[in-house]
């Protein structure tokens, strides 16, 4: 008796081959995704590492013609701008995401918010800079770190909102019911159970937004403006790494070009370090077997 489901040798060989082809394609795509990052990083190391020294991290820029000097003020400025941006963007972004996923589901307002967030995500960053320029810089009549931070913060909101929404919607309904069934008020259940269960994904969203705006130059051109000197005053123009790189890279001086490369290298390293640090801190408390 022949078995109907037994396949021919040719078919089986094709099945094995197609399996290998699919696996090969997946590996190839992975390599294609990682390659640019590695190439950029190696190129930055090659161009910038030689200009890195202690002075780069401790000194402010020297005037044209003098050698040496560093970007200490720009590193600090970027940190301050990102702190202001995150302080604004993370809470608003997460709160809007919670609204979309938990309270406004399917409502008109939620659809409007979702649509606005998607459009905001597509607004060119230079437009964001101009908008904040007319909203904050013009009325104040001077550039400021605060305006730069606000521009970065607004740019963070849509990414954080949409990832928060997606991550909250992935939390199983059974988990929400478990909390409500214990007599926990809805708001408490949303904050302490749903958001907490979704927190790894929400944090990833925040980090994505953070890493994206950390390298932005355009929104800072008309807001933070840049500064050759030390400043920690939020009400004054402030230096930022991307701005400094932009100015130095466009200059006609070789010394400044080298510093621009070093600045780019430092910017990337700082982003990688801060993202890894947040990941490490937030996953440290995860329990054995937690999903």
């Amino acid at each position: 008796m022949t078995r109907q489901y037994k396949t021919s040798t040719a078919k089986r060989m094709w099945r094995t081959a197609s399996n290998h082809i699919a696996t090969g394609l997946a590996i190839l795509s992975t390599i294609l995704v990682i390659t640019p990052l590695i190439v950029i990083f190696i190129y930055l190391l090659y161009k910038g590492a030689s200009s890195l020294n202690l002075a780069f991290f401790t000194q402010t820029p020297r005037p044209v013609g003098e050698t040496g000097g560093g970007m200490a003020n720009a590193i600090l400025g970027s940190g301050l701008l990102l702190a202001v941006g995150s302080a604004l963007g993370v809470p608003i972004g997460i709160a809007a995401g919670i609204f979309l996923a938990e309270f406004g589901r399917g409502g008109k307002l939620a659809n409007l918010v979702r649509f606005t967030a998607d459009v905001l995500n597509g607004v060119p960053s230079i437009v964001m800079g101009i908008s904040v320029y007319s909203l904050i810089v013009l009325p104040q009549k001077h550039f400021s770190a605060l305006a730069g931070g606000v521009a970065l913060g607004i740019m963070m909101i849509p990414t954080i909102t949409r990832t928060t929404e997606e991550m909250l919607l992935m939390v199983p309904h059974a988990i929400r019911e478990a909390a409500l069934g214990l007599g926990v008020p809805n708001w408490r259940s949303v904050l302490s159970i749903t958001l907490r269960t979704a927190s790894p994904g929400v944090i990833t969203g925040c980090m994505l937004a953070f890493a994206r705006v950390a390298g932005e130059t355009a929104p800072l051109l008309f807001t933070a403006f840049g500064n050759q000197f030390w400043s920690v005053n939020l009400n004054q123009p402030i230096a930022a790494l991307p701005l400094q790189i932009y100015v130095y890279a466009l200059s006609p001086y070789d010394e400044w070009h080298r510093l621009a490369w070093a600045g780019a290298l430092v910017l990337i390293i700082l982003i990688v370090v801060s993202v890894s640090l947040v990941r490490y801190v937030t996953t440290r408390g995860v329990l054995k077997g937690a999903s």
């Binding site: 909390a179 069934g181 007599g183 008020p185 259940s189 077997g289």
Partner: protein, 252 residues
């Protein structure tokens, strides 16, 4: 101590689907009441009406009254208050995955603002003992996630979590349907232990289970309560032809 429930003219809808029709049912205190019936007959909807979980579905609607002691849970108190007094165990074990075993059990109290460590420790231990889980988990209460336990242990963890807030009524919606026979037997033993202190309502597809744990049994069919009587009467001498057909396996 448990408290009895008196259900009067309860109707429930999902959108336009009339899921429960004029249910009248007394649920005695400190005992186990089983609800049986084919899938989709309204058993789960019915128990979800007893702690107002039904209304968490935006398209759901309820009329009628459920009295718990002297209060009408639909008129006199908020749903949050009702759910503190009427605990629930779901069909699929649903421990909070980010929380340790300890935190899972303490969650109901903590999320309502209770934070006295010493008393929490006591309540967690007592609840886990009552749920027959203490011996298995006492070594890694704070080390392991609730989600790392086996299916049967997770369900007992959920029972412990429900017991920790000290409810008067405990609703169990097919608590053993996803479990193996050994875990099922443990849950049944547990129900047997607990019913002296709590009023238990258990939905089950397993008629032997109903016969083993419950003093009274109700048979639901197409959103109606066909028959409600002492368990031995339902299973040996049912008053309604449809009940007899169902328990003898002629349909459903």
């Amino acid at each position: 101590m448990g408290v009895g429930l008196q259900v009067t003219n309860l109707n429930a809808w999902y959108g336009t689907n009339h899921a429960l029709l004029d249910i009248n049912l007394p649920i005695p205190a400190n005992g186990a009441t089983a609800l049986i019936g084919p899938s989709g007959c309204g058993k789960s909807t019915f128990v979800r009406c007893l702690n107002r979980m039904h209304e968490t579905n935006p398209i759901a609607r309820v009329t009628g009254s459920v009295r718990m002691g002297d209060i009408d849970i639909y008129a006199d108190v908020s749903p949050v208050e009702v759910r503190r007094r009427v605990g629930m165990v779901f069909q699929r074990a649903n421990p909070f995955p980010t929380m340790s075993i300890y935190d899972n059990v303490a969650s109901g109290l903590r999320l309502n603002g209770f934070s006295n460590r010493r008393i929490l420790d006591e309540i967690v231990e007592r609840s886990l003992k009552n749920a027959a889980l203490w011996e298995e988990v006492k070594g890694d209460l704070k080390k392991k996630s609730g989600a790392s336990l086996s299916g049967g242990q997770q369900q007992r963890l959920c029972i412990a979590r429900a017991l920790a807030v000290d409810p008067e009524v405990l609703l169990m919606d097919e608590p053993a349907s996803a479990l193996d026979p050994v875990s099922t037997a443990k849950i049944e033993d547990l129900i047997f232990e607990l019913k002296s202190q709590y009023t238990i309502v258990i939905v089950t597809h397993n008629m032997q289970q109903a016969a083993r744990v419950a003093e009274r049994t109700g048979f639901f069919l197409n959103g109606k309560l066909v028959e409600f009587d002492a368990t031995h009467k339902i299973f040996t001498n049912p008053g309604d032809k449809r009940t007899e057909d169902y328990i003898t396996g002629r349909f459903g």
